[in-house]
Structures are given as C-alpha cells and as structure tokens.
Amino acid sequence: MPVMLEIKGLRVAVDGKEILRGLDLSIGAGEVHAVMGPNGSGKSTLANVIAGRDGYQVLGGSVSYRGQDLLALAPEDRARAGVFLGFQYPVEIPGLSTAVFLRAAVNARRKHRGEEELDAMDFLVMVKGRMKELGIREDFLQRAINEGFSGGEKKRAEIFQMALLEPELVLLDEIDSGLDIDALRVVSEGINRLRAPDRAMLLVTHYRRLLDYVPPDRIHVLSEGLIVRSGGPELAGELEQSGYGWLRAEAASA
C-alpha cells in the first residue's frame, strides 16, 4: 500500500506558542484515519498546516505527500496536487458566484492533471448531475459562495466540492460540528461514497458519532501536540467511556 501522507517529527507554533510538538503520522492510500482529542490539542492546527494556511510557524519536522515535500508548496499548488481541506467554518464570499468559483477550481485541478478544461456548458451538465446525488438545492450555483447557507448546508457543500475535485488526500476538519442526525447521515454517505483505493482521508473530530457512520481504519488520539495513542475503530468506544482526562494522566506519567 503506497504511503499517501508521511509526517515526521512535526513541530508547529502559533503566535510563538508551540502547539504540535513532534508529531508522527502515516496514512496509506485507501485508508481512512481519524484524529480525536480535547480542545487545544492541535487537531485543527494539524489539518491547517497540511493545507498550508498562513499563521502557523513550522519549527521542525517534515510533511511528505506522495513522496513530495508538501511544506515547500503554496496552498494552491497543494490543492492542485490533490490535497483537499473540508473547512470547519466555511467562509462566505459575497459577490462571487458558486458556479464561477467551482468551475475555476475544477479547471485548476484538470489543468494540473493534464486534462482539458471544461467550458461553461460542459461544466454545468457535470455539476448538475452531482448536485442531485447529494441533495443540493437547485439555486446553489447562482448563489454567492456559502452565502445564506445553514451550518448543515455549508458542510454538505464542502463534501460536494470534494466530490467535484476528486482529491487524493482529504482532510476534514470537524465536518460533523453543527450537524443534526439527518445532516450527519447525508454528509457521511457522501464521504463513504468517495472512499477509494487511491484516496486517503484524515477526519478530525471530537465525537465518536461521525465515526459510527464513517468507520475509520485507524484512530489516533492527540493530546497537547502529540499522538499519545493509536488503535483500531474500537478506540472510539473506549474514549467515550473514559474521556480524554486519563490520556493526559497517562501522558504525564510516561
């Protein structure tokens, strides 16, 4: 199984404060990993640093994506190479139509893969078919990005974009936050439909609920910037029983 993402000794600071303190993680193609942990453990930092967001200082370590040094690439280049971040809080961009935005994103990806870019007509046909699958409302394309969307709609839109862009490394930052049962089910179906042997996924989450619907291959527990425990899907149940508190105690005594 080829390694999609290899993180070694990653140390990251935010505003001078060290958040990730030497993290190691390896995800193979076709695998779904989950990262869980208490607030402040560095879960979102991890996802954002891999995606290339500003405001994070990498102090040491390496992140390699399909053998390539990911940290050396600009965010848009990482995206074009197949890295996708499902945002915890997707922003609104008033005035920019979703159709224009999506077409630009799809074509950026196609161009990178040496495929022909889609013209407006072909794009519309392709997109409308996919919209039906995820139950996205008809006026979605004419609206400005995320404008006036409920929390659930925004998360569904993130999964929809993921389906369009066909990324190889998927990072979902608390995709389940703010979702009710029905929304969670729809979003999870979308994620499961996108599992593939040449795709790796990293789900960042607080709660086990998501993992009931999207069973992971591995679960890692992050605490104070380090992975303190890794295991199979049953780890979610254990955590729910005992909470994160014992982890800190364990880590402290290690």
Partner: protein, 489 residues
C-alpha cells in the same frame, strides 16, 4: 473573451503609461493672470465672445476659495505654480493631417495603443465586428487629431476638438456652453472656464443614431502643467450617442491638477451614454505624486423622455473628486449612474452623483461600487433631490463597499432631499470584506491569490461592468486585476 483592444494597452498597470515623451513644446511659464488667459485665447484663435466668457469666469474665480468639505486630504494647491498652457510646437499652426504631425507624438499614441490612423475597427477585433471607434486624441493642451470626421459628417454628426468647434461652429458652442455648468458653479468649474484648453465637442443632429462610438483620449505629458479640458456633447431631438473617455499621465513625484468640465445636453427623446475609464497616474506605493482629479460633470435631460447614463471606472489618480450628475428637467426623463471606484495604496476618492428630479415621472438609478485596498480611502457621496412638483419621481440607489485587507477605509454620505409626496426613493447599502479567510478558501481550492481577488472583485462589479461598451468591459476587468496587485496583506 480574448480580443485585445487598443485601449487595453494603456490600461496596463505597472503604470506602463508612466513614460514621458520628448516633444518640443510651446510652454508658458507657471502662473495665472489675465494675460495668460488672453494668450491662451489668442493661441486658439478664438472669437471675442469666448475671451469675454473666460475673463468673466476668471474674475469670478478670484473671489472664490477652494472648497474643503470633501473626505480627502492634500496639501494646498499653489495655483500660481502651475503651467496653464503647453502644446507640442508642431501643432502650433492648428490642426493638420496626420502626415504633418510630429512623429514623436504619433509614436506616443502608438505606444499607448490609441488608434490615430483610421482603421475599420480597433486592432485585434475582427473587421466584421463593428464600424470602428472614432478617436479625438488630446496631448497636454491640444487635440492632436480626430479620426473619422468625414464619415461622421456624412451623417451630420459633428465630432471635433473643442478648439475647432469654437471656430467652426460658434453658434452651437455659444448656445450650449455653460448652460449646464455655469462658470460660477464652483471653484474648479470657474477655473476651468477661465483656462480650459481643449476637449471634445459633439453634436448629433435630430433623429440620428451616431453610427460609431466616439471617444476622447487625454494624455498629460509636460511637467508642472495642469490639464483643464472642456467637453460639450449635445444630442438633438431623438438622437443617440455613446461616448467614451480615457486618460493617462506620466509618473512624476509632484502632483498635477486635472480640473475638467463636461456638459451634456439631451433634448426630447435623445440619449447620451457617457463612459469613463480613468487611469491617471495614481502616485507610487508610498503615496508620492499622482494626479488630482477634480472634475465637474453634469448632464441636463432638457427634453421629454431624454436619457443620460454615466458609467465610470475610476482606478487612477491620487485624489478623485467628482460627481457626474443628471438634472432631470424634462418629463419622463431618466438619469443613470454606474460607478466602480478603486483606491489602493494611498489613493483617496470622494465620488458619487447628484440626481435632481424636476419634471414629472422622472426616474434615476444609482449603482455605486467602492473598492478600497491598501491604505486607500473611498467615500461615496450622493444626492437625490426631488423638487416639489416632480410628480411620480422614482429613484433607486445601491451603494456597496468592498474592503480588501484591513488598513483601508470606506465611507458613505448619502443625501436625500424630497419635497414631493408622490416620490419613491429607495436606498440600499452593503459593506463586505475580502480577508485572509476568503482568500485562503479560494487558494485551498486551487485558485491562485491574484485570480481569487480578481474573481471576487469582478463579481462585485459586474452590475457596473455590464453597462460599459463591450470593447472596454474586458479590458476593465484586466485593469482592476492589475490595479489590485499586492493589495492584500
């Protein structure tokens, strides 16, 4: 769309229009007094009435003080330290055929992409695509040439430099000059009336749809000069015309003053569409230099069902201060104002419009888009005035501000004065921001930062862009993209 147009070349930033041309010029020393005015009038060979008009305006001006109420800050202008006349020596004997024009002048306009030689269409656009665009090219204080005059004359359309109009059509000039912007209207209008040098004159006879777009291109070259142009467009009963003006100036450390006056008159059932793409040198990234653009533009919908539309894209100038306005005198007349004003680095803008409803069943539409970036400061100032008796007047105003980054400013000063109970006035305003979050979202989807800003800004401005003549809509999008380089962070 990948057609390139001539105007496209001059719109390129990096301020590629910042060069200075080495032209032998006839330049007056700086300073303003009655002798300077007499000299200007003499150089233009003006009839007596014109000189009298100028002098009266000058005497008014002497009694006025510069206005200070706008939301802009600049060191006081020394009016005695400005050169009021500078013209290429080769033009001193008046208008001539293009073969006689100083080759250096021709090269300048060539470099700027302005077609002085008549071509069936703008370069880069297929010949079948349209009838072409007539151009009047103005260099410092004189018009260098006007294309397609003969063809237009066949339709009875007069399109020539203002200087020529004063000589060849004095009755028309006398009839309409100052009827929309009287000399005493404001400080800069008075100054302009005294010292204006050139601009364009357009007259469309009754029932004629002008067969091509008309445009004037203004180029400032000489140092320390002010540019005071005067444009007068008269659309007679039932006529239509679409007019475009463009402009650039060299990069200099000192500010230069541009105080123009534009008067539009539309008679019964006539329509004037006036579009401006303003790209005066905006000053450098530290705010040094740049043009002061203090302009009075006003249209009088004098006849019934007359219509005047102003469309402006203002990206240049250190300071922009202008309110293209419509006086809706005729019953059923319509006034429109579509504007995109951009301020980046240290640019300042205080711009907007005045819609004065006088006749019955008049209608006005105002769509203003302000984009502030860098440390730019952008103010919208608009007046909607409905006089008593303007029965059934309707206005719709939409005023949107977009802030890019966190060090710029946007302000709105709407004035609404309604004295007529049957009037309907609507005003909507929004403010939004492009911040790091929005940009990162785009980048994470594979869209580069510059493309992202460009897409967002174009989406923001599209209601205004769709009012521009087709040839310029594409180039304006490019101009905005370039003007916004380095605007985030």
């Amino acid at each position: 769309m990948n057609t390139t147009t001539d105007i496209g070349h001059f719109l390129e930033r990096d301020y590629s229009a910042g060069f200075v041309s080495n032209i032998d010029a006839d330049t007056l020393p700086p300073g303003l007094n009655e002798d300077v005015i007499r000299l200007i009038s003499a150089k233009k060979g003006e009839p007596e009435f014109m000189l009298a008009w100028r002098l009266e305006a000058y005497r008014h001006w002497l009694k006025m003080t510069p206005p200070e109420w706008a939301h802009v800050h600049y060191p006081a202008v020394d009016f005695q330290d400005i050169v009021y006349y500078s013209a290429p020596k080769s033009q001193s004997d008046g208008p001539k055929s293009l073969d006689e024009v100083d080759p250096e002048l021709l090269a300048t306009f060539e470099k700027l992409g302005i077609p002085l030689h008549e071509r069936a269409a703008l370069a880069g656009v297929a010949a079948e695509a349209g009838p072409g665009v007539a151009v009047d090219a103005v260099f410092d204080s004189v018009s260098v040439g006007t294309t397609f005059k003969k063809k237009l004359a066949e339709h009875g359309v007069i399109f020539c430099s203002f200087s020529e109009a004063v000589q060849d059509h004095p009755e028309l000039v006398k009839k309409y000059l100052g009827s929309v912007v009287p000399s005493a209207d404001n400080f800069y209008a008075a100054l302009n009336a005294a010292v204006f040098t050139d601009g364009s004159f357009v007259y469309i006879p009754p029932g004629v749809r002008c067969p091509m777009e008309l445009s004037t291109y203004f180029r400032i070259n000489a140092a320390k000069t002010g540019q005071f142009e005067r444009t007068l467009i008269v659309a007679d009963v039932g006529s239509h015309v679409s007019y475009l003006e463009g402009c650039t100036a060299p990069m200099r450390d000192e500010n230069q003053l541009h105080a123009a006056v534009v008067e539009l008159v539309a008679l019964d059932d006539a329509q004037i569409k006036y579009s401006t793409v303003q790209n005066w040198y905006p000053g450098d990234a530290q705010g040094r230099g740049g043009i002061y653009n203090f302009v009075t533009k006003r249209g009088d919908c004098r006849g019934r069902n007359a219509k005047i539309s102003w469309t402006q894209v203002e990206t240049g100038s250190a300071i922009t201060w202008k309110y293209p306005s419509c006086v809706l005198t005729g019953d059923g007349s319509v006034g429109e104002f579509y504007s995109v004003a951009l301020t980046n680095n240290y640019q300042q803008a205080d711009t907007g419009t005045k819609m004065i409803h006088i006749g019955k069943n008049t209608r006005s539409t105002i769509i203003s888009k302000g984009i502030s970036a860098g440390r730019g400061s952008n103010a919208y100032r608009g007046l909607v005035k409905v006089l008593r008796g303007a029965h059934g007047a309707r206005n719709y105003t939409q005023c949107d501000s977009l802030l890019i980054g966190s060090r710029c400013g946007a302000h709105t000063f709407p004035y609404i004065e309604v004295q007529e109970p049957t009037a309907t006035v609507e005003h909507e305003a929004t403010t939004s921001r492009i911040g790091e979050d929005q940009l990162f979202y785009c980048r994470q989807r594979g869209i580069g930062e510059e493309d992202a800003v460009s897409m967002i800004v174009n989406g923001f401005c599209k209601e205004v862009f769709k009012e521009l003549p087709m040839e310029f809509a594409v180039e304006v999008q490019r101009l905005l993209g370039v003007s916004l380089e380095g605007s985030v962070g």
